[in-house]
Subunit: 413 residues, 2 copies
């Protein structure tokens, strides 16, 4: 039927099962889940997968390491409520996210707030509620002092440090060289003293060097550099940091050839590092903040085949989904070269893949390609397509109003 050459797809996450030939989540087939939701497209987030991932992480990491959820990855309220009972803290990136977290029942004292462009009204909300602010600049710290004074509140201030190193192999570098994030390391000790002199509660350091790395050695090296930098800054400032946020960086496999992070290696190395801390970090509370790593592989995006088309020897499955819900999967967000996410014909999950088919969305733009020339089971109009790795940076990180299509449904199972 199709003369096109197959292109590889990313690895399907290990958290999904097959029931009656269909992809299933939490013991229900995708058809049943879509019936429950009432429509497509639909994001399904698996609590089994979330729980398994968190358990793996807890088992591998030193007990001393707190695990925070960076809610920017997925702010779906039921998912936040689920996380709230299971993680040690939340990181928010805006006043809007802070309000969503508070509304979902997260206690303010478990929240920290990082972000380079905090407005006065966002600082006010955070300070009034008792949230920890990761100060991104001296100017922001001064605004926080002023607002706290007006409110008659002692603000909780950590310093976001712009480290001079980055995370090797990271998909998203947040450190190394000139950056809009944090305060250059050499100016941090002075700001520590200023915060303490101003009578604020100094909460320590936030050091985030990058995200989406799969190489354990790169993460181990980054964590070692982060600890060394925290110790050095503490010594220079003359104050031991109560807390150090070691950032994130743990990636998930999206693309052909990607392999999962070796968690045991990372946890083992961090445990060794914790047993050899400098004096200034002996009593420090450490955390990591993870978003994508906690939720990315737990989500699947389901859309329905509306049309099957043949054009110049190629076969297209036209779906009711698209880049308005899954911008990253279309290759239009943070990637230079488009590669295929893991994809399946969800209603024929155990069928033989023997037909090269391109999955497109319903948008009238050539950018709206969800999977290019993948070898898939023969699909028909009415079948459901699954795009995996949809738990992070999907629904909330896509142009939902584009071409008037509106939002997808979301469901925690």
């Amino acid at each position: 039927m199709s003369e096109a050459k197959a292109k590889p797809t990313g690895p399907t996450p290990p958290y999904f099962e097959t029931i009656a030939g269909e992809l299933a989540v939490g013991g229900k087939t995708v058809s049943a889940l879509v019936d429950d939701a009432g429509d497509t497209p639909l994001f399904v987030y698996s609590t089994d997968a979330l729980g398994a991932r968190l358990a793996e992480l807890r088992a591998a990491m030193p007990a001393r390491l707190a695990i925070h959820y960076a809610m920017k990855a997925n702010p779906f309220a039921p998912l936040l409520a689920w996380m709230n009972r299971r993680v040690d803290g939340f990181d928010v990136a805006s006043g809007g996210e802070l309000q969503i977290a508070l509304d979902a029942g997260v206690e303010a004292e478990r929240i920290s707030f990082a972000g380079p462009g905090k407005r006065d009204r966002e600082l006010e909300l955070a300070i009034a509620k008792g949230v920890t602010l990761n100060c991104e600049s001296e100017g922001e710290a001064e605004r926080a002092f002023r607002i706290a004074e007006q409110l008659g509140v002692k603000p909780k201030l950590a310093i976001r440090v712009n480290p001079s190193f980055d995370l090797k192999g990271s998909g998203m570098k947040m450190g190394g060289g000139a950056k809009p994030f944090g305060v250059d390391a050499e100016r941090v000790p002075a700001l520590v003293k200023q915060i303490i002199a101003a009578g604020a509660e100094w909460r320590g350091f936030h050091i985030y060097a990058g995200s989406q790395a799969l190489d354990a050695d790169a993460i181990i090296a980054m964590q070692a550099q982060t600890l060394a930098l925290a110790g050095q800054l503490a010594d220079e400032a003359g104050y031991a940091p109560p807390h150090v946020n070691l950032g994130g960086g743990f990636g998930i496999p999206y693309f052909p050839g990607d392999a999962p992070v070796n968690l045991l290696a990372v946890g083992g190395a961090l445990g060794e590092a914790f047993s050899a801390l400098p004096a200034s970090l002996k009593d420090t509370h450490f955390c990591i903040e993870l978003g994508r790593y906690l939720v990315g592989e737990a989500g699947v995006y389901l859309c329905r085949v509306i049309d099957k088309k043949f054009s110049h020897g190629e076969t297209f499955l036209v779906t009711d989904g698209g880049l308005h819900h899954q911008l990253a999967a279309s290759g239009n967000f943070g990637t230079v070269i488009r590669r295929n996410y893991p994809v399946a014909i969800a209603t024929r999950f155990d069928s033989k893949a023997d037909e090269v088919q391109t999955v497109v969305g319903c948008l009238c733009t050539p950018l709206d390609r969800l999977s290019d020339s993948a070898m898939l089971p023969h699909a028909e109009v009415g079948d459901l397509v699954a795009i995996f790795c949809a738990g992070a940076y999907g629904a909330s990180a896509s142009p939902v109003n584009f071409l008037g299509q509106g939002p997808a449904l979301e469901m925690l199972v």
Copy 2:
């Protein structure tokens, strides 16, 4: 202050003025406009600019050519209402857009609907209202027949043709080779006969080969090929098309070195082509559908400097705007290499540009860069930054919920 080397920016559109040293739109300074709106970020769309663009276009194009607005570029209701009194038709890309257009007062008979993944409920709405459907496949035409029969309505059906040529130099190719859009040209005559045999009202052809081209010769060549193809398909089908939509393709200058389309050349060539039409197209109504070209340069995005930061020799203006409103300007939508849109310090519009400054958004991601190392007037916290070419694919084509920031305000002036 800054050691960074300046990178060039795109050309500022010709529609803006200076009042009291500030950028002004419609006789008001940006400060006054932001005061009127009540907050930043703010999209301002200039009716002066919209009117000037439309007048230039009407003057250059043959009178026989109808001008349609492709509302995907900007579906802001007041802008649609403005367009409704001035263009000859509207093109929508979803049932959602169709509803927005109807709500804005656009008459259904002036609307056509193209899009590869139309659902049954979208076909129903369009057919019931008397909208022209640009059929994207034989399967969609059959669904339209069935739905029209159920509704007891004679459907208005055009055929979207997948042409074998593309638009040279186009930023967005929609024709040439295997595509999810339209019906391959060789299968079109059979579908014409099928539509007529089914008792539908055949509306003709929709042939869209690409968008965002700046080279008049490329547009002229595409229009000639489009007319030739329409004539050939009409001859093969044995039916003269009542309407032919010649597509769009007219680009706007975004980046350094871009120059506007030579409208007079395009209009002159099209006039000549119209005077030498084959018999099958003698009585055909022709239109072009333009989105970006009509509205793109009429819009400016205004955001406020929240922080001014220095990191490793570079200067950052951190604003309350970002890629959640202006994804394309951040270089993350349909472009491989990031280049700078036209940018200005709006509150110092006539000041000397003598400082290299990078404008970033408030999002906690390195992707959120609105302008990289541009030579700009010295700016301070509180200044307004303008990103131009924000009238198309801005507010509605960006991930508005990303990081909980919420939508920008919009204003037609």
